[in-house]
């Protein structure tokens, strides 16, 4: 029997709310298949199975909020036969006369259907460190006082984002009925419509606050910056875009990201994670891209394998990532696997930015606005488009000298844009 547990969901995120199962008992599941959608403070995330199997039993219910590490479902291993007895009763503290399905849910129904729309600094606390603090409760967490509630009422309450614990039941033995839920929904109409947004915004702020406080507490940052002239890059981009249909046009941001990914090849000490008192260089380059949200806050999901993808593909994936981040539908790996973060202020931003590293990453690259500036060269002065690139890095792992060399490499790469296109 495979226990499918709620995996880590990014830096300092220790709980999630099940929004939806994408499978049902009896379904065959492939490794990597999305089997559930889980809501976090920042976004709704597709959660994949890390093993192949057959769904035996779904334990968590839509609307249920649970800590990382909670067993959400049981899967049969390929070839395994289902056990005769109901194994779940062993972990579920029965005794209320309810069916196991109902008994296994907790009363914590919240925030369902808010539409996931926020961000999360990435954080590669990936699956190996499941369970914040290593104390993941086994099966069902927080078995508080359970309410008698009909499945239809529970489902409706989840849809409406109403905590069933707050509803007075009018059914037999105080059971909460569908009508009770609807009545509460009616009476709460104005506030119920407002609440998810404010809740989510506040939660996201808290998540960012936790990650950034941890960063400034634990990571001794150093900063270096370099002004990079971009006339060649922009001229190349303009020429290249003139030949491309609108839908395939490249943005300067995509070229900058590509250059960072390439430059990292020579600076492994900037690409990876600081975990358990030591640095582990990452083998791949997954660029966390800081994306701001219209309602405030930001998420930095990962652009996977950014160093090896051709520029056109990277641009398409960047556009897709921005779209899905703003729509609140990200994959779990995108929230957990970034190996370094890039923040690009874009053409409405400031000249430069010195960012806060997302733990457990060890570096962050920042780009300010590309703008025309006076440029001195060979004893002469001219006006060129320039971007200020910065590096914030972890002094436990690298030194300013190497950081400065990295920025010079980045600058050199940006002088040969046609090479970056490959």
């Amino acid at each position: 029997m495979i226990e499918f547990k709620l995996p880590a969901l990014g830096a300092d995120m220790d709980e999630g709310t099940l929004l939806e199962w994408k499978v049902k008992p009896g379904d065959r599941v492939e490794k990597g298949q999305v089997i559930a959608i889980v809501d976090t403070a920042k976004a709704a995330i597709d959660v994949e199975s890390w093993q192949a199997g057959i769904v035996h039993r779904l334990i968590a219910e839509p609307g249920q909020k649970m800590p990382v590490g909670t067993v959400m479902a049981l899967l049969l291993e390929p070839g395994e036969t289902p056990p005769p007895a109901e194994p779940v009763t062993a972990t579920t503290q029965t005794g209320t006369g309810e069916s196991p399905d109902v008994a296994s849910s907790t009363g914590a129904l919240r925030k369902v259907g808010a539409g996931g729309n926020e961000d999360v600094p990435p954080g590669a606390d990936s699956s190996r460190k499941v369970g914040a603090g290593g104390t993941a409760p086994p099966a069902v967490p927080e078995m508080g006082e359970r309410r008698r509630i009909s499945p239809a009422a529970r489902k409706r309450a989840a849809e409406l984002g109403i905590d069933v614990g707050s509803i007075a039941g009018s059914g037999p033995q105080g059971a909460v009925t569908l009508e009770d839920v609807e009545a509460v929904a009616q009476s709460r109409m104005p506030s119920a419509a407002q609440k998810p947004t404010t809740d989510r915004r506040a939660e996201m702020r808290k998540t960012i606050a936790a990650a950034m406080s941890r960063s400034k507490r634990e990571i001794p940052h150093y900063y270096v910056s370099e002004d990079i002239p971009l006339p060649r890059m922009l001229a190349w981009l303009q020429e290249s875009n003139a030949a491309r249909p609108l839908a395939e046009r490249l943005l300067p941001a995509a070229v900058l990201l590509k250059a960072v990914a390439r430059a990292l090849a020579d600076y492994p000490e900037l690409n990876g994670h600081y975990l358990d008192g030591g640095f582990r260089a990452a083998e791949k380059v997954h660029l966390g891209v800081a994306i701001s949200l219209r309602e405030g806050g930001l998420i930095a999901p990962a652009l996977l394998d950014a160093d090896t993808k051709p520029l056109t593909k990277l641009m398409q994936e960047l556009a897709d990532l921005v779209r899905r981040t703003r729509a609140g539908t990200l994959k779990r790996t995108e929230l957990t696997d970034a190996t370094i973060t890039v923040t690009n202020l874009g053409d409405q931003g400031s000249h430069g930015v010195f960012g806060v590293i997302t733990p457990p990453q060890v570096a962050l690259v920042g780009f300010g606005r590309i703008a025309e500036r006076p440029w001195a060269e060979n004893g002469g002065l001219k006006v060129l488009p320039v971007v200020t690139a910065s590096l914030s890095a972890d002094h436990r792992v690298s030194d300013g000298h190497r950081g400065a060399l990295f920025l010079r490499t980045l600058s050199d790469l940006l002088q040969q844009p046609e090479e970056l296109a490959k």
Binding site: N241, V322, G346
Partner: protein, 86 residues
């Protein structure tokens, strides 16, 4: 399509990207991107939306001229007239 209809269409396209935009509060004579927070990806998506609705593909070299809503409407109107004339 008259100018008001065109303006409504442009605002509706913009609202797909920036839902908070109100057509009545937007000033036609002030830089659009000072009034609406549009990053370069938003801008590209806005142009894609206009392309879908009007069939006009604005080349990158013309971006610099399209700072205000009025300039954008002039540009689009001109393109639409050109197209119907040919």
């Amino acid at each position: 399509m008259n100018r008001n209809q065109l303006r409504d269409l442009v605002i509706a396209t913009l609202q797909n990207i920036a839902p908070e935009v109100g057509g009545d509060t937007l000033r036609d004579d002030l830089p659009l991107r000072r009034q609406v927070d549009l990053d370069s990806m938003d801008w590209l998506n806005f142009l894609l939306g206009l392309n879908k609705r009007l069939g006009i593909e604005i080349p990158e070299k013309d971006y610099a001229r399209l700072t205000t809503l009025a300039a954008l409407l002039d540009y689009l109107q001109h393109e639409l007239t050109e197209r119907s004339a040919s």
